[in-house]
């Protein structure tokens, strides 16, 4: 490496860090809103046209030649990796010691120095892509796919952030909701309403745990925590325990436990047969809810058996959309990993909870508007295609010197 290049590749990152810190101390963190449409489009176009223009007019200048070189690439990626290391080691977005918070180190993604470092990568990438346009060969095409794909992902990922809207929309069964809340809890109307006609949830079988008097699981975790099936046998204290019956939805009144169909407010119950050397008996255990205390069985002075609330296997909602004109679209089903497109929005089933007051289940949707996504996806697609080529690339081998 010649001395000049080496000097530049150290000076530029230092310059970026100092400038970025100065901007940070005077301007504070970058707010994505600053870049919302049309600012982001203008910046995007400026980068897309500006980098080639600068390249064609100044390609014989030393600075441009440096920025398109391998030395600059390593310097730019290293600076970015350095900032990513800080991000990886310091917990982000948590209030932190004053110095860390003061210099933005717990919020690196939104700092000026991080943004400038990404810009440095973008400029280097842009120049080297243009430099490699000199000849048409398979190698250059693969090079282009890799590098331009990454360029697209960085540019659209960063600029797209500003236009992205993500709303949380909690909807109770039977009701119709026109609004949602963004991550800062601000009210927002997306222009359509969601009506929840039905919420469905399915559970895995419950698990049984043997706990000690401190409420800690005992025994081999393997046995204590396995999901139970009918006829399973486990050991708890001196007892052999057999699972006789599992009720996903049960109701408890006094000593009797019976199955119910309605899952609202129901508990999960399991009938067990316990036997030791002398005698054997049957008993129910169940999970608790607001009205019912969990039913447990003492299996000695030291420990007890209890039921661990079952984990959800599936949850999903049947919904209808309403617009201002009052027209209802046909019913849709939506569940985790199966989002739904509605015009320029994508609706996700994100979670559910039971309303502490009414006990009704509330289904929580996310509605996401992300107009830049297709470009980011295009970039990602190029990255993957480039990756496939990379698996078969013939690499430069070391020449004996």
């Amino acid at each position: 490496m010649n001395k000049g290049k080496f000097k530049f590749s150290v000076i530029i990152p230092i310059f970026i860090l100092i400038t970025g810190l100065c901007l940070h101390f005077t301007q504070g963190l970058i707010r994505p809103e600053w870049f919302s449409f049309p600012v982001n489009l203008i910046i995007g176009l400026e980068l897309f046209c500006g980098i080639p223009l600068v390249y064609f007019f100044f390609k014989n200048k030393k600075a441009v030649q440096f920025l398109s070189s391998g030395a600059a690439a390593i310097s730019a990626i290293s600076l970015f990796a350095f900032l990513t290391t800080i991000m990886a080691v310091l917990p982000q977005e948590k209030p932190s010691y004053s110095f860390i918070e003061f210099s933005g180190l717990n919020n690196i993604v939104f700092t000026w120095y991080f943004t400038l470092s990404a810009l440095y990568i973008l400029i280097c990438l842009g120049f080297v892509i243009l430099r490699r346009f000199n000849a048409f060969s398979l190698r250059n095409i693969v090079f282009f796919i890799n590098h331009f794909g990454l360029w697209l992902v960085i540019v659209t990922g960063f600029l797209g952030q500003a236009d992205k809207i993500k709303l949380n929309i909690p909807v109770a069964e039977g009701s119709l909701v026109w609004y949602g809340f963004d991550p800062d809890n601000k009210y927002f109307e997306p222009g359509f309403a969601i009506k929840l006609t039905d919420f469905k949830i399915e559970y895995y079988n419950p698990k049984i745990g043997v706990f000690n008097s401190d409420g800690e699981l005992t025994g081999k975790t393997r046995e204590a925590l396995s999901e139970i099936k009918q006829k399973d046998k486990i050991k708890a204290g001196n007892y052999d325990v057999e699972i006789l019956e599992i009720l996903q939805y049960a109701s408890v009144s006094g000593d009797s436990v019976y199955a119910v169909t309605e899952n609202r407010g129901a508990v999960t119950a399991v009938r067990l047969k316990l036997s030791d050397d002398k005698n054997s008996f049957e008993k129910w255990i169940y999970t608790g809810n607001k009205m019912v205390k969990p039913g447990i069985i003492a299996t000695g002075t030291e420990n007890f058996i209890a039921l661990i609330p079952p984990e959800p296997k599936y949850f999903g909602s049947d919904i209808e959309f309403y617009t201002r004109s009052g027209i209802s679209a046909e019913p849709h089903n939506i569940s985790v990993n199966k989002p739904l497109k509605y015009y320029s929005w994508t609706i996700y089933q994100s979670s559910y909870y039971s309303d502490p007051e009414s006990g009704n289940i509330i289904s929580v949707f996310s509605a996401v508007y992300d107009p830049w996504l297709p470009f980011t996806y295009a970039g990602m697609f190029m990255l993957i295609s480039g990756a496939v080529f990379m698996m078969f690339t013939k690499i430069r081998t070391v020449k004996k010197d």
Partner: protein
């Protein structure tokens, strides 16, 4: 559960690889030993693959959710890949290192099996789950082999005083596909996250570390391409990148803030 029978696999694995390694030391004297050492790792691998298959059927889900489960795949891929490279290059050090590395992971599983729940939360029930994890596991195994060859190269360089270009070439031949797999695994993860949660990137600790690993290998590739004569720097960087990779995979939980984010399951 088949987990409790991992000891058998462990014995088969250790005995076959160890006897293979020993016969490798004396293989100049006997054609039989030479053949034996090249074939016997297949037995170890078939036994591991069988174990994983039985585990898969017993769990009724792919065994790629818990750490202990991914370690099995990793041991399988590392031993498979180092064995294949040995067959093609006859680098004996790689044979030994690959054996040591994969048996360490099986041993950890033997000492700390995780008897965790069979259940998959709804977000994990996705066609993207298997490719995302398995591609990462293969990438990790390929890059482990690259690290082992780089370390071999460093040792040779130190011993002979001349840059060991043969091992640099071999390492980079592994880093290219390894990096391609890393990129693929990362993009698959991003698309899946978008479908499941509506965000393709949230800077959760695992994602940040995965990006860091990717950046380190990116530096290796560019250093190699643009400064092919920086042998020693490259070899050291290759070994170091693998340390970052191991932290990404196994070490996150010990870091501040590491137990948050969407890559933490169980408990």
């Amino acid at each position: 559960m088949i987990w409790s029978r991992l000891d058998i696999i462990f014995v088969v694995f250790i005995v076959s690889w160890l006897s293979g390694s020993i016969s490798l030391i004396f293989d100049k004297k006997s054609a039989f030993l030479k053949k034996y050492s090249s074939i016997i790792p297949a037995l170890a691998n078939v036994s591991l693959i069988l174990f994983i298959s039985v585990l898969w059927t017993q769990l009724e889900r792919p065994p790629i959710k818990t750490m202990a489960e991914t370690r099995l795949w990793y041991a399988m891929f590392v031993s498979l890949i180092t064995w294949i490279i040995y067959l093609r290059t006859k680098v004996k050090t790689l044979y030994f290192l690959g054996f040591i590395m994969s048996s360490v992971f099986i041993t950890v599983d033997l000492i700390h099996p995780e008897y965790q729940s069979k259940n998959l939360m709804p977000a994990l029930q996705s066609p993207w789950f298997i490719p995302h994890v398995v591609i990462y596991m293969i990438a990790y195994a390929v890059l482990a082999a690259a690290c082992l060859t780089a370390v071999t190269g460093l040792v040779n360089t130190k011993r002979t005083g001349i840059a060991d270009s043969k091992n640099i070439d071999l390492s980079m031949k592994l880093v290219y596909p390894g990096f391609g797999l890393l990129s693929t695994g990362m993009v698959l993860g991003a698309v899946w996250a978008k479908i499941a949660w509506g965000n393709y990137w949230t800077w959760d600790p695992k994602e940040t570390w995965a990006l860091l690993t990717w950046l380190f290998y990116l530096i290796c590739i560019h250093l190699h391409f643009s400064f092919p004569k920086k042998h020693k720097l490259l070899l050291i960087l290759l070994a170091f990148s693998f340390i970052v990779l191991i932290i990404t995979w196994l070490g996150i939980r010990y870091l501040p803030g590491g137990m948050s984010g969407m890559h933490v399951y169980g408990q």
